[in-house]
Amino acid sequence: MGEVVEQSVPRICSRVIPVLLWSYDDITDIGECRQIDVVSLVVDIVVPLFLMELDASSKRLWQDSMSGPTPDVPIEDLFSLYKRTKVMMDMYNAFCPKSVHSALTRPNSFNHPRTAAMLSLTLPASLSHMSDNGWSTRITRHLSGYKP
């Protein structure tokens, strides 16, 4: 009787151990791969599209804002456009921190052509220190929800 038990123990182990390892792989698989983060996916698409649009029309905007005493584009709109673009970039960095473009749109590195286009509106440097618009905190919460 005791002999049978001794024999079956290693046999059980040899079956159980691969399964243990295998399910550990599955767990990490769930953590890293099996996720569809709808918000990140959408933001990752629409914000770069917006920045490209902005880049394409920035020269025209600048010209239109200087067309005569009553310009087609009031300068105030360019200022708000600047602010809104910052919101877009904050949103992008918060939702898509792993994205390839992310480093380029980070608030402190305005050396990307697209963002430089916006800055070519020669806004005073003091304006670039916008206050936190609330996205960062919201997004930290969002991120902590699904970080493995």
């Binding site: 399910s23 599955d26 698989d29 769930i30 791969c33 099996r34 996720q35 569809i36 983060d37 709808v38 918000v39 996916l41 959408v42 933001v43 990752d44 698409i45 629409v46 914000v47 599209l49 917006f50 649009e53 902005l54 029309s57 025209r60 905007l61 239109d64 804002s65 087609d72 584009v73 009031p74 709109d77 360019l78 708000s80 456009l81 809104r84 673009t85 919101v87 877009m88 949103m91 939702f95 919201r138 969002h142 929800g145 699904y146």
Partner: protein, 113 residues
Amino acid sequence: MFGSLYSVFLGAIYQALEAVPQVKASDIKPYLQILGSIQDNRLLQRFEVDIQARIEDVKEQVKISADAGYHKTFKELESRPGVNRALPLLLMTDEIEKWAKSLNKAFPESVLG
């Protein structure tokens, strides 16, 4: 059987997500609950190797919908009368923020996460 069930439901989600970025959580929630309980079953991971590819399909679908949604909205904004070229861009940022907010609310955790 689990594998094919899962595929059927992924297909359904695929369709529902075409409404992105204006998709409502209530349109997808029932699917997600079912998907979640199927995915909890380890049998699936053992036998269904194809699932990862389907998930990539769904991700791709979300991106395509987002792209189409952006262009549709911007076209609408741009075709409004007026000489102010900054206005459509400004309104677009509002739209994008609205989408992000509602999606963030609708999907506080990753789908299938």
